[in-house]
């Protein structure tokens, strides 16, 4: 697989174009670059002669000499923002994210409980980082390593309909490409498939022009782990704590993947370990064939061309899901074919008739066992671990379909407690268990949150804005094909079906939240009531004693008892105060999907948790006012 040296030159043409300041800091790279520039110059002279800057009018021939194929790597190297490498900060996040996604997918597919180790270290220079992600997955066969990490659009996931994190096969190779472009250092991979074999160690560059891996280093090494893959990428990046950073990403990933153990070392040298919350892997998902409603005419034509089936009947029944003999017959009738018609003889006109028949014939919705939702209990466990709220609820909708692709929506809400109460609610989005941190406002999930009329559930909301108050809304979208708005996989496209389903799930949860809010208000009212009565009882008892001569103490005792009886609700809530989670039968709120935690936090303890923490720290003012509120609440009691 060792490629010719010429490829390298092309790589550095790219890096020269970037006019990266990094290049200047590395004399070795610099030297090489200068050399290569000469090479480029030499090459381009021939071009300039014929086309270049001469004023001669363009001819078709001359133009033809400039017209050539653009490699996908070239395209993305120039348009790296499409892949999520718009800025240094996002580049770091995307790199970690792609590596983590790949690792988790690999582990789950091999039915291994994932155990990840993520290490981000700062190298010499302000903006150089090394991201190393290691998993305990099955490892990668030696011959595939260069393709997987050194070639864009190479992967196992694009051609199938299965719920997994990765889709296109761009991610990790793009990250490697970015690293290479910005630092000149190749991506390093160590992978071991079995404890009986040593690990392979590769260093790969990407030939952007040919979209081909370029092996810089290849040997076998001893490692102390039995199997798995370790990717290491050097890149120019920026590390920030706080929102939209890798810390947040990893924390959210831990929530959405409670079966994963993550050991994370941040650039400051702090190690954070997210322990496994569940010891079971998500249900293994089945791969499904495309559903007739979900394909486009072009796809159909391609399938017709590629299929090995001879006859139309076999093709339809064999290549699509939910096409039974009956459906197949109907489609054929509609399209004016018989089931015996030869696939080879179908022209584009006939194909179009088949396509139209797909739309008119009634076909059962696709199977949904291809989806593995996180699960209501797991969402609750994740939220409980991550947020110091008072009320948690979650809901998993039944699977449904958009454009022939099955999908499923889950929503979790956390409310009250130590969540910041003076800002807007937070929306955390997941697609196939991958946290989405950017482009919130372009996402169907976010729009569904906006569309929900939160006020009718007792949560404040100004028009066109997120709901306000101490609220976190978590939405998970699971599908065999997540319709991202761009290759950087940051926002989900706005399909009506998706928006509707997310809205319904939110409402499921909001109804419970509403019950909780109402109940809490009632409790507050009741205890307010009681305090009013207790305040006046001594006066009344005094007066009665003065008039009738009945003993004041006895009267007061009886009145206090009456007051307690009459404010029973307040009493009950207060009695069970110390108890952390209350569960009683009959109560609509207290089924398995809801958890209520009583929090009596000391005024000086503020939210250090994953969602509120950084925010609270940044907005010092907000924290102060929150404290004040707590104190005054106490005083009232």
């Amino acid at each position: 697989m060792h490629t010719d040296q010429d490829q390298q030159s092309l790589l550095f043409v790219e890096s020269a174009e970037l006019d990266s300041p990094v290049a200047a800091q590395s004399p070795a790279v610099m030297e090489k670059k200068v050399g290569k520039r000469k090479a480029v110059a030499r090459k381009s002279t021939s071009n300039t002669k014929s086309t270049g800057k001469s004023n001669a009018p363009m001819t078709a021939e001359r133009m033809a000499s400039q017209q050539r194929e653009i490699s996908i790597s070239e395209f993305f190297a120039k348009n790296r923002h499409l892949l999520g490498f718009d800025n240094k900060r996002k580049a770091l996040l995307t790199t970690v994210k792609e590596a983590v996604d790949n690792s988790l997918d690999a582990c789950e597919e091999a039915r291994i409980l994932p155990d990840l180790s993520i290490c981000v270290t700062q190298l010499e220079g302000d903006d150089r980082f090394r991201v190393t992600v290691r998993d305990n997955g099955p490892g990668i066969v030696k011959s595939q390593i260069p393709n997987i990490f050194g070639k864009l659009l190479y992967g196992s996931k694009f051609h199938r309909l299965k719920m997994c994190r990765g889709q296109q096969g761009i991610g990790i190779s793009a990250a490697g490409m970015y690293g290479l472009i910005t630092t000149g250092r190749p991506i390093s991979i160590r992978s071991r498939t079995s404890p009986r074999k040593p690990a392979h160690h590769y260093k790969l560059a990407i030939d952007t022009k040919k979209n081909r891996p370029d092996i810089m280093h290849d040997d076998e090494v001893e490692v102390d782990w039995p199997h798995g893959t370790e990717v290491s990428i050097d890149l120019v990046a920026a590390y920030n704590k706080g929102r939209q950073g890798i810390d947040e990403y990893i924390e959210q990933a831990a929530i959405a993947n409670p079966h994963t153990r993550i050991q994370y070392m941040n650039p400051l040298g702090e190690e954070i370990v997210y322990d496994r919350g569940v010891d079971e892997l998500p249900v293994e998902t089945r791969e499904i064939r495309p559903h007739p409603h979900g394909i486009e005419l072009g796809t159909l034509l391609k399938m017709l061309k590629e299929t090995e089936r001879q006859q139309v009947g076999a093709f339809l029944q064999g290549e699509f899901s939910r096409v039974s003999a009956t459906v197949c017959k109907k489609v054929c009738d509609e399209a004016g074919l018989t089931q015996r018609s030869w696939v080879k003889q179908i022209d584009s006109g006939t194909a179009e008739r088949i396509y139209k028949a797909f739309q008119t014939v009634k076909i059962m919705a696709p199977p949904t066992d291809c989806l593995a939702p996180i699960g209501t209990q797991q969402i609750l466990a994740g939220l409980l671990k991550g947020l110091k709220a008072e009320f948690y609820t979650a809901s998993t909708r039944n699977p449904t379909v958009y454009r022939g692709n099955p999908f499923q929506v889950e929503v979790g809400l956390a409310f009250g407690g130590n969540l910041p109460s003076d800002g807007l609610a937070r929306v955390i989005r997941f697609a196939n268990r991958v946290p989405l941190l950017y482009q919130q406002s372009h996402c169907a999930i976010f729009r569904s949150v906006l569309d929900t009329n939160w006020r009718s559930y007792g949560v404040s909301q100004s028009s066109g804005a997120l709901p306000g108050g101490p609220l976190v809304i978590m939405v998970h979208f699971a599908s065999v094909w997540v319709p991202f708005t761009s290759e950087s996989k940051e926002a989900i496209a706005d399909y009506d079906e998706i928006r509707k389903e997310v809205g319904l799930a939110i409402r499921d949860c909001s109804r419970k939240l509403q019950t909780f809010i109402r109940r809490r208000k009632r409790t507050e009212r009741e205890s307010e009531r009681r305090s009013v009565f207790f305040r006046y009882i001594p006066e009344v008892a005094n007066a009665l004693q003065a008039i009738t001569g009945d003993a004041k103490d006895g009267l007061m005792e009886r009145l206090n008892e009456l007051a307690r009886m009459r404010t029973e609700l307040a009493d009950r809530e207060m009695d069970e105060h110390g108890q952390i989670i209350k569960r009683t039968r009959k109560d609509p709120l207290l089924d398995d999907s809801t958890v209520i935690v009583e929090r009596e936090t000391p005024a000086d303890e503020h939210d250090e948790s994953l969602f509120g923490g950084h925010e609270a720290k940044r907005m010092g003012k907000g924290v102060a006012s929150k404290r004040k509120r707590k104190v005054s609440k106490k005083k009232r009691r």
């Binding site: 009013v532 009738t548 009456l562 007051a563």
Partner: protein
């Protein structure tokens, strides 16, 4: 603060009395020296009812007759405003009523002390007497007199006793002169020798306090304003016309109304009322005549259905040829109030409707002082004598 939910009960007065009856049936179980008198007994009855409610683990509550337009009716036969049987329930264990309940009990106990000490005091005094900070809070038992006055009125109607019997009074107001000799708290007073200020009418004018000894007066003239009354007194109108002249300083206080009532019924004197020609003047007349909504329970002993409205009428401006420059344009509030008054059942008389409609038509009001535009003593020398002679009054 009054509860909206109106319960028809047989009447709390009955209840309260039954409470006191129960007490007396039980004999002198409680140590009371009896100095409190009837009012004291009733307060005790009320308190014992509350105690027994507490004993029975009920929500202690008072049911208090409603003192508002919704619970008064005009008795066309007696021609007075009477209070209906609607009561509002005032339970202690109710957020909206708890404080008022506490205040009522507090006021009851303090009023009882007043009875026991046989002292008489003002309602403002009672406010200060009952005001203190509730222990352990920053809350006051009473925030202002506007909270304590209604509580006293509530107790009057609930217990079915008069304010005088409770030994409290409002600020006195009003003066009277005329050819009459009375005994006031034991002192004999000749009301024709009271100088320019007249005899100040006290708040409590019950037979035990005020007694009429002898009089030559033929009628009583009740004047709205003190200043106009001064004119009549300086001109010695009472001497030339053999009458009592009395004023109430605007809306006449209870003492003045009660005194008029007594003079009318005990001495058989007719009562003439002289007020401004505006809706407020009409209403002062109507309160004197039929009683007020707020004190409907006292109508029987205060109202004078025979009282005659001598002026000023909306027709007077024309009749006495008054200059248009002494009239005042009716404002929006005046017009609204006039329409309100027209709707009261006791103003349904045809002549009254005509009178008020005429005022609205002219769109102006007249003050008594407007008559001075002609001459200083026009009102006493010409206006009133003319009206009396011509029998030009409404009743």
């Amino acid at each position: 603060m009054a509860k909206k939910s109106v319960k028809k009960t047989v009447g709390v007065r009955g209840k309260a009395t039954s409470g006191s009856k129960k007490k007396s049936a039980r004999g002198s179980g409680k140590v009371r020296n009896g100095k409190g008198g009837d009012a004291g007994e009733k307060i005790l009855g009320l308190a014992e009812m509350v105690v027994s409610q507490i004993g029975a683990a009920e929500n202690p509550s008072l049911s208090i007759p409603i003192r508002s337009l919704s619970n008064v009716s005009f008795n066309a036969r007696k021609r007075i405003i009477e209070m209906g049987d609607n009561t509002s329930n005032r339970p202690f264990f109710d957020l909206g009523n708890a404080k008022r309940f506490m205040q009522t009990m507090l006021m009851s106990s303090e009023l009882l002390k007043l009875q026991d000490q046989a002292k008489t005091t003002s309602i403002r005094d009672m406010f200060y007497h009952c005001k203190h900070t509730i222990e352990g809070t920053r809350e006051e038992t009473f925030d202002g007199q506007d909270e304590s006055d209604p509580v006293i009125e509530d107790l009057e109607v609930t217990l079915g006793v008069l304010r005088e019997e409770l030994r409290v009074f409002a600020n006195p107001g009003g003066s009277m002169v005329g050819p009459m000799t009375i005994r006031d708290a034991g002192d004999e007073i000749e009301l024709s020798r009271m100088g320019s200020g007249g005899w100040a009418v006290p708040s409590i004018v019950e037979p035990g306090v005020i007694e009429f000894l002898k009089t030559r007066a033929k009628f009583i003239l009740l004047i709205e304003k003190a200043a106009v009354w001064m004119r009549f007194n300086e001109d010695r109108f009472w001497e030339s016309h053999n009458c009592m002249i009395i004023h109430g300083g605007g809306q006449p206080p209870r003492g003045v109304r009660r005194l008029c009532h007594r003079m009318v019924y005990e001495l058989g004197l007719p009562l003439y009322v002289l007020v401004d020609n505006d809706p407020w003047g009409y209403y002062i007349y109507s309160v004197v005549k039929q009683g007020s909504i707020n004190l409907a329970f006292e109508s029987a002993r205060m109202a004078v259905p025979k009282a005659r409205f001598i002026g000023m009428s909306s027709y007077d401006a024309a009749e006495f040829d008054l200059s248009p420059s002494v009239t005042i344009r009716l404002n929006d509030k005046d017009i609204a109030r006039a329409k309100e008054i027209m709707a009261y059942p006791w103003f349904q008389d045809r002549r009254w409707q005509r009178e008020i409609k005429h005022m609205l038509k002219l769109g102006v009001k007249l003050e008594l002082e407007a008559l001075s535009n002609k001459e200083f003593s026009f009102i006493a020398d010409t206006y009133v004598p003319h009206k009396l002679k011509q029998a030009k009054w409404l009743d």
